[in-house]
């Protein structure tokens, strides 16, 4: 199939054996969620907010360094926040209140703080999620969500997505090769009809595969729940190591609130 580690979904994963890679996936999920909550809870208009953001950034970049996630990978992760970036850039222009002159533009002071805060919070949270995705294989993430008691149906849907992404991707590739082998160029409005037909065919094929998979599952005694394997108990130390990220972030937040 020629797909990378973990299939096309695994493109986010950076293979490695660092301590971050080895942490339990469900603990990492908790840690990233808690870290994001701490970051979001930081008041944007406080004078000490930029210092707190710098502290959080040092934490998440430190985690990335320990995990040996390359800077390029982190940068690619940040692409998802581009829409937020546009909104954050708009805020200082459209907000009301006292204005400041920056490079000849009259900008709102509170808008600047809000926009900057939004940008910092989004960036920090996306960075943390990127480190998680880069150090945890997709199937381990699903296992982590299962351990965190995500509803069984959602776990099954995610699990099948991880398993079949590259099978469906392979079908998509073969259909494209077959189209192009017969001279299809994929340009102009006429192409849209062909591509839409292809998408429909892919949907039908995937639906039929779903039926066949279901038959195979029934044949092996499936009754509605994916049986989970044994889950090893997690030592307190693993909790401590994993949660050191959000706990330190919370300490930074607390320090800012008390001293700032």
């Amino acid at each position: 199939m020629g797909a990378g580690h973990g299939g096309p979904l695994g493109a986010a994963y950076v293979a490695g054996g660092s301590v971050v890679h080895r942490l339990e996936p469900h603990l990492k999920l908790v840690a990233v969620l808690a870290f994001a909550l701490v970051v979001v809870a930081t008041p944007v208009h406080a004078g000490w907010a930029p210092a707190a953001y710098a502290g959080y950034a040092a934490l998440v970049l430190g985690a990335a360094a320990v995990a040996r996630v390359p800077a390029g990978r982190l940068a690619r992760g940040l692409v998802v926040e581009v829409p937020f970036l546009a909104f954050a850039l708009l805020l200082p222009v459209v907000s009301r209140g006292p204005r400041v002159e920056v490079l000849g533009l009259s900008l709102s002071e509170s808008g600047l703080a809000a926009g900057g805060g939004l940008l910092a919070k989004a960036t920090l949270s996306v960075l943390a999620a990127t480190v998680l995705a880069a150090t945890t294989e997709p199937r381990e993430l699903v296992r982590g969500l299962q351990r965190l008691r995500l509803p069984a149906l959602l776990v099954q849907i995610l699990s099948f997505m991880v398993r079949y992404a590259d099978v469906v991707g392979g079908e998509l590739r073969r259909m494209r090769v077959a189209r192009e082998s017969r001279g299809f160029r994929g340009r102009g409005p006429g192409a849209l009809r062909v591509v839409a037909t292809g998408a429909g065919a892919l949907f039908v094929r995937s639906y039929e595969r779903g039926e066949r998979v279901h038959l195979a599952m029934l044949s092996r005694g499936y009754t509605g729940a994916l049986p989970a394997g044994p889950a090893a108990a997690v030592p307190a130390q693993a909790w401590l190591v994993t949660l050191s990220l959000p706990l330190t972030a919370a300490a930074v937040l607390a320090a800012g609130m008390l001293l700032g």
Binding site: V162, R163, V167, R212, R220, G221, P227
Partner: protein
């Protein structure tokens, strides 16, 4: 015919799909324990419909199916599905769990076996198909032939009494085909093999059954059936060019 219960007994089985298409018109078939039988027939003969009756996925028509003396009925389904292991044609349909080990463990866990027993069965089943040590690999990292063999392991781990294989040699390269044959001949189970690959049927199954038009039209030693040119021609079965079943 022995007096012990047949490994698989199909009597007067008829079935029509809800859309009215009738696929089976009264099939009789008996497999004794330890037999390896090939199920031959052209496309649309009703082979898959018959296979799906053997573990109760399809039911509701006329006739009966017994597995080791146990009737295929709703309340027996868990035990029937343990006794009859079906290996479907596309291993990507059969292998739906994230890793090989979890997939082979799927059946035993559904049987409610304790974890140490599950782990032992997974190891043994992978060993039987020559895939020991692959438990942690994701299925998409395996070759097609390896995936086919793991698919066999996913039902072997349930300790089936009857193994049903749907087109086991399809899409395999010659080496993969031979490796699978070596695995299958070494298994101590009753086997029903649906195939278009007539030399493979001759190699693995002393007995063959020809299904066409929803009824059994021939049942006998594979070599005799394959040597009957009129029978083959009447049911759209063809030997590969140059293949002489009497000289193998």
């Amino acid at each position: 015919m022995s007096t012990a219960p047949a490994a698989l007994l199909v009597e007067d089985l008829a079935f029509a799909y809800p859309d009215g298409h009738q696929a089976l018109f009264g099939v009789d078939l008996r497999l004794d324990p330890g037999e390896r039988v090939a199920l031959l027939g052209p496309n649309g003969a009703g082979k898959t419909t018959l296979v799906l009756h053997l573990n109760g996925i399809l039911s509701g028509g006329r006739g009966r199916v017994d597995v080791g003396g146990l009737p295929v009925r709703k309340r027996n389904l868990p035990e029937v599905r343990r006794r009859v292991g079906i290996v479907f044609q596309d291993p990507d349909d059969q292998l739906f769990m994230p890793t090989v080990g979890e997939d082979v463990a799927f059946g035993p866990r559904n049987l409610g076996l304790p974890e140490p027993e599950v782990a032992a069965r997974v190891a043994a089943a992978l060993e039987q198909v020559g895939m020991a040590g692959s438990a942690d690999r994701p299925p998409h990292h395996l070759s097609f032939g390896q995936r086919r063999r793991v698919a066999v392991a996913t039902v072997l781990s349930m300790h089936p009494e009857v193994l049903v294989l749907d087109e086991p040699s399809s899409n395999l390269d010659p080496a993969g085909r031979r490796e699978l044959a070596e695995v299958l001949t070494g298994l101590p189970v009753t086997m029903l093999m649906v195939t278009h690959d007539l030399p493979y049927a001759l190699q693995l199954c002393p007995r063959s059954v020809v299904l066409d038009g929803g009824v059994v039209v021939a049942d006998g030693p594979t070599r005799d059936l394959l040597a009957d040119a009129d029978l083959l021609a009447a049911h759209r079965l063809e030997l590969p060019f140059g293949f002489d079943p009497t000289r193998v």
